[in-house]
């Protein structure tokens, strides 16, 4: 005979009650472990999705607005001993030929065989014709098409020159491709390919690289390299890259023996100029510009090239060639006026002028090498074909101008000093169009050695590591579900503790006997704890198995009814052994702790009292009579604990309500929630006090119902547990509704929509100012069509979606460049951070950090940051810049990205040209009409106009989905709670069968006894429900009063009504069961 034997014997003998305890522990364990495994599963699914979109890719060199030789991939491969796949990736729109379906923001990818190898799949484009493409499942679903069908894809014709550059040519050039769908690429076919950390795959279309190159007139070029090499790519790139990869060209100038360095991008980037100047001290810069007019008095020459070079001329002097001097009738000393266009933000053209004095007349010699490759000028033969991206009045072009063009092409007609030219025409893209240096001092290899590829945006980014970090640091659904399931877990543990307590109460005499036989308190506790632990252990093991089912059920919920919480992420079951161990350990701790608490109070009782039998709360002498005498004062104090708790928390609740004011903001809602919680605690305290008062009532119970109420007070702890579970459950279920958010059209500037009617996003950038007639005219829109409509354009630097729609932790968030004054004028949106205004974005921090703001879900939840935190990322010049969060906005339509001042945006991200997002003010009466007009007119740019409130609603849907989960699981907790109530009722009446039999013997009718039992338990139900409801209504009061939050009153009323009816039914059934049959036999058994 040992302790172990005794434990085993007890477990076996009391198997019925032990089974209840075991199941209770198992349920708690299943929920706890299941919730944690939900976290594992979501994490693993995100990881799986991340790896599915990257295949074997470790590093990616991605330069969306810059192109390099696709052959670079072939050259890097041998040195890296890895696959290097060249890609041409562009944004585009995909439509059905009849226009009946459209997918904006599609990803158009030119690929070759190595791409499919990177995805470890077969080449779906092997042997494909030029007009054949593979589309991924998402695009197929969006368009509703399958293999063999046709679609039309429109992509922007990649510009040689940034569209924001002056004289960059036409801004609306796009290429339409009519393609036949060859196959649909699923997840296993690398169809999820994408470089952004987003669980939703882009809508993608894959076509042969060569075909796309040909269509875009980018033969042999790519803008992305993928490799499965893990390191060393930067060094290998430096060894192999060529001038063409830096978009540089050289020309040997025979006459001067110099080498000229130029770029198809027209302006040489400052990094390139610095590198060249470090090669030779004999460099000479040239800046050639296209001017609208050169005038001398009455005579004017239209549309001419003027070059700025050297220092021979004074800064106010101009040298004219003989042709121009003749045309203008100018001589040395005359004043020449120049008119030319400069380009502002949103490609706003401003005509500027300058005056020079003729310093020299030069001999005319044809030399078109002075002319940079301005698109729309350099390649055309006839002046009438000029399309330089500025308004050209062809009527002004004279025959002699045509002849000059035919004979001398872009030979400059005039020259100014380099300094004077740079002052007039220098811009953020550069202030030189060519650099000359002695050929003997020039070496392409030396120049490339001086240049850092990163400075031109050619950087290999560890996309796989970033993807794994994004999924690894993603929102922890495990913790989230533990929070959601908290009430359920507590309810299960309370139920378990209740069952265990009943079990132990049955064995009071046994404990008493052991104490009488000389067992020390510690030994008895060890024995009972051993039993409890064994049950907790077995229950936990069973819980692990049930947990798998719970997780699968939850994942099913997340894939269906709670889909809003996880978006399009395909969820699969995954459990880490460590998580299972953690879940089991926590459950063992929680259940073991609950059982230990129960048995602790059991072993404290005097042995004589235990031997006499009765429940834990039957006698007041919990510790033996003498101790009670000694501690009577303490005992009395303990009886008043409930009253003290109530008196402390009630004024607390009242004080909070008094200070909460009448605000309708989140803070006020939180204050009301806390006040409600205080009221709940106070109510529970008063309930305890009421029950204690009923116990101690000196006045005899005058009615049978009064006797019933006295009985409720007799097992005070048991009764209080029931009240607490019901009240807390009702409170949580209802009060959480206060956080339910409901978006609806809202013109308030301070709200989440900023008072804007629409939030629009375009697939292809829009360069023109839609607030001007000229800008509208670009899209064949008349001003009167959009009368009263105003746009706040936003530049967009693509990045990870940092909204609640993306479960990954955004590593490189999307950036919006905004003109702060446009939002400040409108007083749009509300800052949570005190003392911060939009103008704060204009001020660059003293240490060089750029100020940014974002809304609360973006900063706090998606990025896990706070005010003052910084994010480091590389700008388009390859420099690491620091973005400092200086303010947080209330939840808004701007969720998903960080906002910085446009001027800072332009300085660091020149490659992200144009505008791709718009906040739009529209007269309310014309909202539908304006949306339709914009969508139609800008269809080719892929403009998608969304009502701002609906965008907000999409974000809120995620939070509401979380609340829905919480309420659903809370409801389940209440079901468990009501099961506990049933157990208590059954236990109470069965324990008192003898007592009830006695009353029957004394002549009471069964119906009267039933009334007594019902009165007793209905009091508990009433107290629990009323308390929870009053506290909860207080908590949701601001939301209810404001009428803003869609509190699901109907659902809640149904749930609470069901609970109340269920509780009443349980008690009625229990009372009926107890009073049925030969009740008097119980008396004989006594």
């Amino acid at each position: 005979m040992t302790f172990g034997t005794l434990i085993l014997r007890s477990l076996r003998f009391y198997w019925r009650t032990n089974l209840g305890v075991l199941l209770g522990v198992a349920v708690a364990g299943a929920i706890l472990t299941g919730a944690l495994v939900v976290g594992d599963s979501v994490r693993a699914s995100l990881r799986h999705a991340a790896l599915a979109r990257l295949g074997q890719t470790q590093l990616a060199l991605a330069t969306p607005d810059r192109f390099f030789r696709a052959a670079l991939a072939d050259e890097l491969q041998p040195d890296l001993h890895a696959i290097v796949a060249p890609l041409l990736l562009l944004r585009g729109t995909a439509t059905l030929p009849d226009g009946s379906a459209r997918a904006n923001a599609a990803q158009v990818v030119g690929v070759e065989e190595r791409f499919w190898r990177m995805g470890s799949t077969s080449n779906l484009l092997a042997g494909a014709a030029e007009d054949e493409a593979v589309i991924n499942t998402r695009l197929a679903e969006q368009l509703g098409i399958g293999a063999g069908e046709t679609l039309v894809v429109r992509v922007e014709q990649p510009a040689l020159v940034s569209r924001d550059v002056p004289l960059s040519g036409r801004s609306d050039l796009s290429v339409a491709l009519r393609l036949r769908v060859r196959a649909i690429a699923g997840d296993a076919d690398f169809g999820r390919f994408g470089l952004r950390a987003d669980q939703t795959p882009p809508a993608s279309l894959f076509l042969p690289l060569a075909a796309l190159q040909a269509q875009l007139k980018r033969a042999g070029q790519a803008n992305i390299l993928l490799t499965d090499a893990t390191a060393g790519a930067e060094a290998v790139l430096r060894r192999h890259w060529q001038l063409a990869d830096a978009d540089l060209e050289t020309r040997h100038l025979q006459e001067t023996g110099a080498t000229e360095l130029i770029t198809p991008q027209v302006f040489l980037a400052p990094a390139i100029v610095s590198a060249v100047q470090s090669l030779s001290s004999n460099t000479a810069g040239v800046l050639t510009y296209f001017v609208n007019e050169l005038r001398c008095g009455e005579h004017a020459t239209p549309y001419s090239f003027v070059a700025a070079a050297g220092t021979e001329l004074h800064d106010d002097e101009i040298a004219l060639n003989a042709w121009l001097a003749g045309d203008l009738g100018a001589k040395v000393g005359d004043e020449i006026a120049l008119r030319y266009f400069v380009i502002g933000d949103r490609r706003e053209l401003r005509e500027a002028s300058a005056r020079f004095r003729v310093g020299k007349i030069l001999q005319l010699m044809r030399d078109e090498t002075w002319m940079p490759a301005f698109p729309g000028l350099a390649e055309v033969h006839n002046c009438n074909d000029w399309q330089p991206g500025i308004p050209i009045d062809h009527g002004r072009i004279r025959p002699k101008d045509e002849e000059y063009w035919n004979e001398y092409r872009g030979t400059p007609k005039a020259f100014v000093s380099l300094a004077a030219g740079q002052k007039l025409w220098g811009n953020r893209f550069g202030n030189l169009t060519a650099l000359l240096l002695p050929t003997r001092e020039f070496s392409a290899r030396n120049l490339l050695a001086q240049l850092d590829p990163a400075a031109l945006g050619l950087t290999f980014v560890p996309v796989r590591a970033a993807a794994l970090a994004a999924s690894g640091q993603a929102l922890d659904f495990g913790q989230l579900f533990i929070g959601f399931s908290f009430f359920l877990i507590v309810a299960a543990l309370l139920l378990t503790a209740l069952l265990f307590a009943f079990n132990l109460e049955q064995r009071n005499a046994e404990v008493g006997l052991l104490r009488a036989l000389g067992w020390r308190g510690g030994q008895i506790r060890r024995l009972l704890w051993g039993e409890g632990f064994a049950l907790a252990l077995l229950g936990t093991l069973l819980g692990l198995a049930l947990g798998a089912a719970y997780t699968r059920l939850t994942l099913l919920g997340l894939a269906t009814i709670w889909r809003g919480a996880t978006g399009a992420l395909p969820l699969g079951y995954h459990a880490e052994p460590l998580t299972l161990a953690l879940g089991a350990g926590l459950n063992l701790l929680a259940a073991g702790g609950a059982l230990a608490l129960v048995q602790r109070s059991q072993t404290r009782r005097a042995p004589a009292s235990l031997l006499a039998g009765g429940s834990l709360e039957d006698s007041s002498d919990l510790r033996g009579s003498m101790l009670d005498v000694r501690c009577s004062m303490f005992s009395r104090l303990r009886q008043h604990t409930g009253l003290i708790v109530g008196l402390v928390f009630l004024p607390g609740a009242i004080a909070m309500l008094a200070t909460a004011g009448h605000g309708q903001d989140q803070q006020a809602a939180e204050t009301f929630f806390v006040a409600g919680s205080c009221l709940l605690i106070a109510g529970l305290g008063f309930s305890a006090s009421l029950l204690a008062g009923l116990t101690n009532a000196a006045r005899a119970a005058g009615t049978l119902a009064g006797v019933g109420l006295r009985n409720a007070a007799r097992r005070r702890r048991r009764s209080l547990t029931v009240i607490s579970v019901l009240a807390s459950g009702v409170f949580l279920l209802v009060a959480v509704s206060a956080f339910h958010q409901d978006a609806r059209p809202d013109a308030a500037r301070t709200g989440g929509t900023g008072g804007f009617a629409f939030f629009a996003q375009s697939t292809l950038p829009i360069y023109d100012d839609l607030n001007t007639a000229a800008g509208l005219n670009t899209f064949a829109l008349a001003s009167n069509e959009l009368a009263g409509v105003a746009f706040v354009p936003l530049r967009v630097r693509e990045g990870d979606d940092a909204s609640c729609l993306n479960l990954n932790r955004a590593q490189q968030p999307r950036l919006y460049g905004v003109q702060p004054e446009l939002l400040a004028q409108r007083k749009a949106f509300t800052f949570e951070t005190a003392g911060v205004a939009w103008s704060r974005l204009e001020k660059v921090e003293s240490d060089g950090a750029l100020p940014v703001v974002g809304d609360e879900p973006t900063v706090t939840w998606a990025l896990g940051r706070k005010v003052g935190d910084e994010l480091a990322l590389a700008d388009d010049h390859g420099r690491v810049i620091r973005l400092r969060i200086v303010g947080i906005l209330h939840s808004s339509v701007l969720q998903g990205g960080l906002l910085l001042a446009e001027k800072n945006f332009i300085a660091h991200f020149p490659a992200s040209s144009g505008y791709r997002a718009f906040l739009i003010d529209v007269p309310p009466a014309r909202a539908t009409e304006v949306a339709a007009t914009l969508t139609r007119a800008l269809a080719q740019r892929g403009l998608e106009v969304t009502p701002a409130w609906r965008r907000l609603a999409d974000f809120m849907a995620v939070e509401n989905a979380y609340l829905g989960i919480f309420q659903a699981l809370g409801g389940l907790g209440l079901v468990l709670g009501s099961l506990g109530l049933a157990l208590v009722v059954l236990r109470n009446v069965l324990e008192r069968r003898g007592e009830l039999a006695l009353l029957l013997a004394l002549g009471f009718r069964r119906r009267a006894l039933q009334r007594m039992v019902l009165a007793e338990h209905w009091l508990l139900i009433f107290l629990g429900l009323a308390l929870g409801l009053v506290a909860a209504i207080l908590a949701v009061w601001p939301a209810w009063r404001a009428g803003q939050n869609a509190v699901p009153w109907g659902l809640l009323a149904g749930a609470l009504g069901g609970l109340a009816l269920g509780g009443l039914l349980w008690t009625w059934l229990a009372a009926r069961a107890a009073l049925r049959g030969e009740l008097l036999a119980a008396l004989r058994n006594e």
């Binding site: 052991l514 009488a516 004589a608």
Partner: protein, 235 residues
């Protein structure tokens, strides 16, 4: 009144003006159960305590058995003041030096006869649960005629048999004092006679002092010394 033992030189148990009161519900005047009891019991002596219901017999027995403490006065066991001992020390006294037999046998229903008998021995560390204790348990069970029922559970025994198992359990640790609280109260006459006889025989054979609380004048009369408790005072 002081009740002297027959062998004054070997006083095992002594009560010295023991009073016991309980607090009244609602804070009224405390209820006195024992009103100053003094008693001496020699080692190996057997006494019966009789008295009407509510006279405080069980309370007195609880104090004698270190299950309860006096409100006033002293209870000395083998010269040690029980009131001064800590809970664990009292438990050790109950375990090693006192045996209890209750009106209900209080056998553990989940254990066999053999296991029930050995329950008191489990408090000692494993190495101290000697084979002597096992041998003694076996001998006592044989002595009470239950050797053939070792593997039986309480539910498979008669009331008298259960009570005999309870007696063996009380004696297994070789106590100096055996306290029996209405041990025959729930038995029929024949079984009550038999159990009374057994207790007396064991008192003699094992040299264990016996305090028997009973309603039964007939059983009390078989003991050498009978005390009556009336209104909380021994007469």
């Amino acid at each position: 009144m002081n009740h002297q033992p027959s062998a004054i030189n070997h006083v095992l148990l002594e009560l010295d003006h023991v009073r016991k009161t309980y607090p009244a519900p609602g804070g009224g005047a405390p209820v006195a159960v024992l009103g100053g009891v003094s008693l001496q019991l020699a080692a190996g002596e057997a006494i019966a305590i009789v008295g009407p219901s509510g006279s405080g017999k069980s309370t007195l027995l609880n104090i004698l058995g270190a299950l309860d403490r006096p409100t006033e006065g002293r209870a000395l066991f083998a010269g040690r003041d029980l009131g001064a001992l800590k809970e664990n020390e009292l438990a050790a006294v109950r375990n090693r030096e006192i045996g209890f037999v209750f009106q209900q046998h209080h056998l553990l229903p989940q254990c066999t006869v053999w296991e029930n008998v050995l329950i008191p021995t489990l408090t000692a560390p494993g190495e101290l649960r000697t084979s002597a204790a096992l041998a003694r348990a076996e001998r006592l069970l044989e002595r009470v005629g239950l050797k053939a029922r070792l593997a039986h559970r309480p539910a498979q025994l008669s009331g008298g048999e259960c009570q005999r198992v309870a007696v063996v359990r009380a004696l297994v640790n070789q106590p100096k004092l055996l306290l029996a609280d209405e041990p025959t109260g729930s038995l029929d006459h024949a079984n009550a006679q038999s159990l009374g006889q057994l207790l007396l025989e064991l008192n003699r054979e094992e040299g264990v002092a016996l305090v028997l609380v009973t309603h039964s004048r007939e059983l009390a009369a078989r003991l050498p010394r009978v005390l009556e408790l009336r209104d909380g005072v021994l007469a």
